[in-house]
């Protein structure tokens, strides 16, 4: 259920999130977090996804991640990816979030990629850029 892998990576998908410049996230790191959706906010200015994931001590941690705006995701901004709607994710779904972690180590992500448990990539590159080390 859980896989949290840190890696140093330079990744060019940051245009997904145009709201911020820097400061909150560690843009040199990319991690994967797999868990169960607890909440999905399909709204502007940033779509938010909340999941419960187990940490290495076996405790459940609620992670959340931000994507680009509802408007952009609803327009299918990436070829070969589905057009997002307000029911594309539902509580209970198992998904893997990939993104830049918060610089202070808190469970927040600037998302680069979202993959469902059946392997469907909802947004982002075909393969996760997070590599275990």
């Amino acid at each position: 259920m859980k896989r949290v892998a840190f890696v140093l990576a330079v990744f060019a998908f940051f245009t997904l999130n145009a709201h911020h410049g820097a400061g909150v996230y560690d843009t040199t790191a990319v991690i994967d977090v797999t868990g169960t959706v607890t909440e999905f906010q399909f709204r502007n200015p940033h779509v938010l996804i909340f999941i419960d994931a187990e940490n290495e001590a076996g405790q459940s941690v609620n992670w959340s991640g931000e994507l680009t705006s509802r408007n952009r995701l609803a327009r299918q901004i990436q070829e070969n990816r589905p057009q997002w709607t307000n029911d594309i994710l539902e509580p209970g779904d198992t998904i893997t979030l990939t993104g830049n972690p918060a610089g202070n180590g808190s469970p927040f992500l600037r998302l680069i990629r979202v993959e469902t448990s059946d392997g469907t990539v909802l947004i982002g590159p075909d393969q996760s850029p997070a590599e275990e080390y």
Partner: protein, 255 residues
């Protein structure tokens, strides 16, 4: 956040206290439309930024180098805390007026990555920007600038046709907006000239020249490119940022 609510409160109070629409209407001369002025190109449609078209603008500014600023502008630039560029800070630390829901102004509106719709009608071109539902009226009926009603966020725009190029001149803008998203200031003396032209029916190119005798030593010359889409303009309100800021505060305050 408190500042933001005071802003809303003062807006409501001012709105209740007086009705200025009559004065504004009095100031606008009604000009009959000369059909000879109505030619050029058809820019109608919904347009989204074309980052691959070679325009000089990028995500947060009009050029990779900062413009040639006067000491007056440099002093303000130095205390501006943008969220983009080499001097970027976290949203919680910024003093970018847009994060308090002030309109971005002209020409900065083009640096916000949202589509825009252009509607052409006799004597007038209406620009609808998805970002915060901002609109600009560009009058092409031969009228002059309205120099007697003060300054506004998006300015006062008049346009004319240079063959198939639409030339738009905008003046009378408030000086509390930034020219870009990296903190470059301007004065109320700023003039923005936009030249709109179609490279093909689906490609819009806008050359932009920003002059400001108070803030810039030399004009800031740049460009922005758009491609036509089949999208509709959706709602995107700055007010929603308040919800988002609460989420982001949780990151900073996390223990």
């Amino acid at each position: 956040m408190r500042k933001y609510f005071f802003f809303i409160l003062s807006f409501l109070l001012i709105g209740c206290g007086q009705n200025t629409s009559q004065n504004i209407n009095d100031a606008v001369e009604t000009v009959s439309v000369d059909p000879a002025l109505e030619h050029g190109a058809d820019f109608s449609g919904v347009w989204t930024r074309d980052n691959g078209a070679g325009a000089q603008a990028h995500n947060s500014s009009w050029s990779r180098e900062i413009p040639d600023m006067t000491p007056w502008a440099r002093e303000q630039f130095d205390v501006h805390l943008p969220t983009f560029g080499a001097r970027a800070v976290a949203v919680a630390d910024t003093n970018d007026p847009v994060y308090e829901c002030y309109p971005p102004g002209t020409p900065r509106i083009y640096l916000h990555p949202f589509p825009m719709e252009i509607l052409q009608m006799p004597g007038r071109i209406l620009m609808i920007y998805e970002y915060d539902g901002i609109t600009r009226n560009i009058y092409t009926d031969g009228r002059e600038h309205r120099d007697n009603i003060g300054v506004t966020w998006m300015g006062d725009s008049i346009g004319y046709w240079d063959q198939d190029v639409l030339v738009v001149e905008t003046k009378n803008m408030r000086d509390d907006t930034w020219i870009d998203r990296e903190g470059v200031p301007h004065s109320e003396e700023m003039t923005v000239i936009e030249r709109f032209q179609l490279r093909d029916e689906n490609s819009l190119w806008i050359d932009i020249e920003i002059t400001d005798p108070v803030a810039l030593n030399t004009p800031w010359v740049t460009s922005q490119a758009y491609q036509k889409t089949d999208w509709t303009i959706e709602e995107f309100k700055c007010m929603d940022n308040v919800n988002f800021a609460a989420w982001e505060d949780q990151i900073l305050e996390y223990n």
